[in-house]
């Protein structure tokens, strides 16, 4: 591996986005599965970095998941998006940042399509007016929330308490970075580092002391596949893709997977559980899996957030071995407790993969 080669590409694929004043749009999946991640993100950018990230209660889903499940027409998705942009405009913002990768891809695609086919843009403008009586507007800058963390990665490093280093050996943790397909595969120039060697997560990992693993199936999809997951009959496709990735990364013995898409960590996490149940195989050491975390969770960990405040207990794969490696203190008793130590019981332990 020649790092200079990658560095050259990273230098070529840097996009120009402002570092403050964003209209923040949430992700359906992140809110549902990793609710603490968005909380952490906003806490970091607002309170730790002092930036202006405005959230408006009227924004909704972008419809991207329904669009990519072919449940709604393209025009519908575009009009919902136009509505979101209009909300941003109404709130006096022109920088738009979204938490979801599917959204980010769809926003990018929509803006490009409008650019290429002005008549379609005109049609959507009309739809927006007919349905919501809102003024059509487009953002000046579009970013994904991981782009923000990437941009502030060195600021975060300055506040870092627990670098991505194994405290026992002193060696950097081996980190697999997994980029959501819709981040830059459709429009390479819209992602930090492009489509082939995206830098957005690599930059974070390296800034926080970790070592990135480049394994053969690095670029492959986690296997979500929208309809391929939503219908139970199709889930073989989804789990098989994740399986392929784990088989490929296994020899590198990664300590951690970092992702920027909200869906990927769900699949990379839960499919490890399914693979273990079905084949008895686990990919971490001693019957553990490999934790698959969101970038917010990783940022939170290195900045010293409490693991259970970060919501690491909602992962099926046990997080404790990673916390031990990083030397992060945690209270095992608090793991499954609710607000004010409310007893919520303990999830059952699976057969083949350790959850504690």
């Amino acid at each position: 591996m020649i790092v200079e080669g990658k560095q050259k590409i990273w230098a070529d694929y840097q996009k120009d986005i402002p570092d403050d004043h964003y209209f923040y749009v949430r992700s359906c999946i992140r809110q549902s599965f990793w609710p603490a991640s968005e909380v952490t993100f906003l806490d970091i950018v607002r309170n730790k970095l002092g930036k202006d990230f405005y959230e408006n209660e009227y924004h909704t889903t972008c419809g991207g998941i329904a669009y990519h499940s072919d449940s709604i027409p393209q025009e519908t998705a575009m009009t919902i998006i136009a509505r979101q942009f209009a909300l941003m405009h109404e709130s006096g913002y022109e920088n738009y940042v979204c938490s979801c990768i599917t959204s980010f891809g769809l926003y990018t695609e929509t803006l490009e399509t409008w650019h290429e086919f002005p008549e379609l843009e005109a049609k959507i403008r009309q739809y927006l007016w007919d349905s919501c009586k809102k003024e059509f507007a487009k953002p000046k800058y579009l970013a994904h929330a991981s782009d923000m963390i990437y941009k502030f990665r060195f600021d975060i490093a300055k506040q870092m308490k627990f670098p991505l280093v194994n405290v026992k050996t002193g060696k950097p943790l081996k980190v697999v970075e997994h980029i959501g397909c819709h981040y830059s595969k459709m429009f390479p120039s819209k992602g930090f580092g492009g489509a082939e060697y995206p830098h957005v997560l690599v930059g974070m990992v390296e800034a926080w002391g970790g070592e990135v693993v480049d394994y053969p199936e690095r670029r492959q999809c986690c296997g979500f596949g929208f309809r391929q997951y939503f219908v139970q009959a199709n889930r073989g496709y989804s789990v098989s893709n994740t399986h392929k990735k784990f088989e490929s990364m296994e020899p590198y013995e990664p300590d951690l997977i970092i992702t920027n898409c909200p869906g990927c960590p769900y699949f990379l996490d839960r499919w490890q559980y399914v693979i273990a149940e079905q084949t008895g195989k686990t990919y971490g050491k001693n019957g553990y899996g490999i934790p698959a975390l969101t970038y917010e969770e990783v940022a939170g960990l290195v900045m010293g957030y409490d693991p259970w405040d970060l919501g690491l207990q909602v992962h099926q794969v046990a997080i404790e071995p990673l916390l031990e490696k990083m030397g992060i203190p945690y209270d095992p008793k608090r793991k499954y407790q609710g607000v004010n130590g409310k007893d919520l019981g303990v999830p059952q332990c699976p057969m083949h993969i350790k959850s504690v």
Binding site: I2, K8, I9, P216, R219
Partner: protein, 335 residues
């Protein structure tokens, strides 16, 4: 009749044009930016389709131009047309007047790192066809370490909208097969694969070379473009392609991957070209005035083109064009 003819570029086209012009009684002057005449072909080991040593051809050509006035390590920095003569300023500050200009500036090799998914410059064992040729010439390349499996990828930087080159680079197919045979000669036990989309064997003896590649050298030709390259734990290359004839995706591990890099227009001449008023065609090469009858002519009187500056060309094509440009120049001078 001792008119100066300015030839920019001392490769095969420039040398051959100079040779012919000198025989016609004109005074060719070659401007070569590098330290020696010969161009790309001088860096080549053997030529397709019959494995003829390139050195033989280059030496003969060099011998023919030994009396031609030649500037090495020199570029044209400015040129102006005044009535029917050209005034050129060279990088060594010399000034040359000439009655006609022949652009024989040839080509550049596509920068393989631009095709990011192939990992050139990132994965250790990915190399270009030019580097492989150098290995044949010198016997040295640290990437080639008794390889067991070698792959060739065709159309790297050609027929590809994503790198803005939609044209076919013409000579890479035959070169790939030639190199595949040669690497088999060096490592007879190695398995050699080529990943092609079409094998464009357009010249005499080329199809025979193809047959020989398959039959005598047991090179395996797989129809399908490699979609991505990655590196495994042992530093071996994992490639993916579709075996399009079989209709299934294919995956394999290779020790060395050779990228058949396309020819691109030599852009170092752009400024002078602009001053001479010669436009580029849609492929980014120089625009000649007519594909059939005006292949050596440009929109500018007195400015001629020859060789790979107008499109990717093989050596015989280039020499043919160099000879025809000489006739065109001669007729122009005697008009």
């Amino acid at each position: 009749m001792k008119e100066n003819i300015l030839i920019i570029g001392g490769g095969a086209a420039g040398m051959e044009a100079a040779t012919q012009l000198q025989k016609m009684g004109l005074t060719p002057i070659i401007i070569e930016k590098s330290e020696a005449l010969g161009g790309h072909i001088a860096q080549w080991d053997r030529l397709f389709p019959a494995f003829h040593p390139a050195k033989d051809v280059v030496e003969k050509m060099l011998d023919q131009v030994k009396d031609v006035k030649t500037y090495l390590n020199t570029e044209v920095v400015d040129i102006q047309k005044d009535n029917d003569s050209f005034h050129a300023v060279l990088s060594n500050n010399e000034k040359i007047d000439a009655k006609a200009v022949v652009l024989a500036t040839g080509f550049d090799i596509f920068k393989a790192e631009r095709k990011q998914e192939y990992g050139y410059g990132i994965y250790n064992n990915v190399m270009t066809s030019v580097e492989l040729e150098k290995f044949f010439r010198t016997g040295k390349d640290e990437r080639i370490n008794n390889p067991k499996k070698i792959g060739f990828v065709h159309c790297v930087g050609a027929r590809d909208v994503k790198v803005c080159n939609t044209y076919c680079s013409k000579v890479c197919c035959t070169t790939a097969l030639k190199q595949a045979c040669e690497i088999k000669e060096v490592f007879p036990d190695a398995e050699v694969y080529t990943f092609y989309m079409d094998l464009r064997m357009f010249g005499p003896g080329y199809e025979d070379l193809y047959l020989k590649t398959q039959k005598d050298f047991d090179v395996k030709c797989v129809r399908g473009r490699v979609c991505e390259v990655s590196e495994d734990m042992d530093g071996k290359l994992v490639i993916k392609a579709e075996d399009t004839l079989f209709g299934k995706p294919l995956k394999m591990t290779l020790d060395v991957l050779v990228l058949m890099c396309a020819m691109e227009k030599n852009k170092s001449i752009d400024a002078i070209q602009q001053k001479l008023g010669v436009a580029n065609n849609s492929d980014g090469f120089m625009q000649n005035s007519d594909m059939y009858l005006g292949m050596n002519n440009t929109a500018q009187d007195g400015v001629f083109v020859a060789g790979a500056c107008t499109a990717p060309k093989s050596l015989p094509d280039t020499i043919g064009e160099a000879r025809s440009v000489a006739t065109q120049v001669y007729n122009y001078i005697n008009r």
